[in-house]
Symmetry: C2
Subunit: 181 residues, 2 copies
């Protein structure tokens, strides 16, 4: 592969990821190309169709996210802190894209599996946080995951935006407040 081609391929992936993270899945191929400073033709040289590009980004993102989450979970720190680390780590990721792929008409199996992997892991951590006493116990762990998803899958979500702050505070007990920096 020629050097410029390698460079452009990476540029396309970066650009597309940023756009999907900022504005959700409804970004056109033309806008991706234009933002990257390339022609549409170049996109199609590297990715045979839109679907392929979207899946590649979603799978990459989810793989990294899952392994980061597992790494956080293995740390010997309060579970509440693990949750905060995870939520912060989600900022700038195109998670609305990933979710829309697994919800949409074309369920790529790998995307669905990765999502359910992440969800399961976070649900376990939430349950442990409840036992630890840092999280309110009256919400089933699976619903905690749903609520956090809303905070974290919004296009343009930031780690420290008001909604995320409010939701985290709404999930924690006063005991958990101490663990939160």
């Amino acid at each position: 592969m020629r050097a410029d081609a390698r460079h452009n391929r990476a540029l396309i992936l970066d650009t597309a990821l940023s756009l999907f993270a900022a504005r959700g899945p409804a970004v056109s191929m033309e806008e991706i190309a234009q933002t990257a400073g390339l022609g549409v033709g170049t996109l199609y040289r590297h990715f045979p169709d839109r679907r392929t590009l979207l899946e590649q980004i979603a799978v990459d993102t989810l793989r990294r996210l899952l392994s980061a989450a597992q790494e956080f979970a293995d740390r010997p720190v309060p579970r509440w802190e693990v949750l905060m680390l995870f939520v912060r780590h989600c900022a700038g990721l195109p998670l609305a894209l990933a979710k829309s792929l697994s919800d949409g008409p074309s369920h790529p199996p790998e995307v669905a599996e990765l999502i359910s992997g992440v969800d399961g892991l976070i649900a376990r951590i939430a349950e442990q946080a409840q036992r630890e006493g840092s999280m309110r116990p009256d919400i089933p762990p699976r619903e905690v995951v749903d609520v956090l998803s809303i905070a974290v899958c919004r296009p343009g979500a930031r780690a420290d935006d008001t909604l995320t702050t409010v939701i985290l505070d709404g999930l924690k007990t006063s005991a958990g407040a101490d663990a939160a920096p």
Copy 2:
């Protein structure tokens, strides 16, 4: 106006409102007609185009919402309770539609005015709640409005769903907890 026509007009408005509330602004004219048990032609006899139907629903909804909010605000009860009344009252309303109209390319002036009227009123109430001590003081009232909007403008939002609960709890101080039933 003939009796069946009057009936169908009301049926269309009801059906469209429910669909927009449940699934957001991206509901097609055909689906509205089908759900109402009518042909598309009948929609176009009552509303010359999609835009007209959407604006009518948005303006109706916002007018009612604003006057309800004003009525709540006039009650001699704690401001936190007014906020809860308001949030509960928003359930089942097509607010995502209204917001998308005022954000979208066709800004109907009346929709924008009504929205800013509601936002202003809620911001004032939030400020009073902060002075009253029932709401955390570290979030500017305008951002409180933004956060509540996210809870309340979701398609399919319910008054008692988990997200709404968590956000309200995240917004209130322990002092405010007493005012909340």
